[in-house]
Symmetry: C2
Subunit: 181 residues, 2 copies
DNA sequence: AACAATATATATCATATTGATATAATACTA
DNA sequence: TAGTATTATATCAATATGATATATATTGTT
């Protein structure tokens, strides 16, 4: 999903500023499926406004920078629905962790080990967040489905890593492959 | 991992042209963890050559465009090892599929259903590829670990989707949420 | 109380990545 | 024989990313 659609999606759940869109994507149900930074959000919102898909209200605040509150227009709502109906692209994963694991037999075992530890910590943190969200309840079936999906995947990863990590570290201790020729 | 490191990583397994690097990333063990297109590869290779991390041999071919064969230099090999030792960034997933599932209750059930079918097909295709690779045997422990990891995750996804899809479609049939105000 | 860090808020810049398109010949398929 | 796939490199426009700038209030630490 491109930045514009992500903004529309967040705004479909209520008006928000650019800053709030960022927070919402980071902390909300989009958290594990999307990333978005300010440098994507602000240009996207400008384009959406030009195209009449969102409207803006400037809010003067004391003590804080002024806020620009964006709201979906009816065109925007329609445009979101159409985008959601488009056929989905394949999921993409980019894993720094797995990339390195491919080279486990040419890296020092201590590094492999600490990378695995770090990864397990991350998985635990994510699971804690997902469980906390589940405990708070969901706003829609979709949110529940996605939360459960993410939790299932994280758990499967954790089990697999724990069951297979020793082989990786053992290989790192007894290297068998050179870094090409 | 940036395009330069990906190129170095592929070249660590033997010399290759830009075209071959692409194929190798798409079909090889990097397949489910990295994406890379020509428009990233060619500039990356130029930079690597400027920096002395790869060397080039031009190969004139009849019938085909000339080939530029890239080879790691010893600086390049060192640079790759250093990059691999750097701490890993968090894994990133971007899922068009899950993004849409979040809006299951405002989309037509037939669309939800066919998106789920398409996703299941994709998972099956990936699993077939991963199993085929496993049957051919692995070149390193790392490759085996990553292949098993990917297969485990795909299987967990398939099970979860099959067990929960009916709820999503049911929700789509009986919408309960509006597209905001 | 002083100081550092975090949260609120928008914006821009350089760099990196992506998707589309150009070019060109062979090999395979319907 | 027409169309598509494969081999091969390259560039361009549109996006996306990461870093940095700016400014103040609140919260946390020593």
């Amino acid at each position: 999903m491109d930045a514009k659609t992500v903004c529309l999606a967040v705004l479909s759940q209520g008006e928000a500023s650019g800053y709030e869109i960022r927070k919402s994507v980071e902390e909300g149900p989009f958290g594990h499926i999307q990333d978005i930074g300010f440098s994507s959000i602000y240009p996207a919102l400008s384009r959406l406004r030009e195209d009449g898909l969102v409207s803006v209200t400037e809010l003067t605040q004391e003590g804080r920078p002024d806020k620009k509150i964006y709201r979906l227009t009816s065109d925007g709502r329609l445009s979101l629905l159409n985008a959601l109906k488009d056929p989905t692209e394949s999921d993409r994963v980019r894993s720094d962790f797995l990339f390195r694991m491919l080279f486990a037999d040419i890296l020092p075992p201590s590094i492999i080990d600490s990378m695995i530890d770090a990864r397990m910590d991350e998985i635990q943190t994510r699971l804690t967040r997902l469980d906390a969200r589940a405990a708070r309840g969901f706003e829609s079936i979709g949110e529940e489905f996605v939360n459960g999906f993410a939790a299932t995947v994280q758990r499967a990863m954790a089990v697999y890593i724990e069951e297979n990590r020793h082989q990786l570290v053992a290989a790192a201790l007894a290297p068998s492959r050179a870094v090409a020729e």
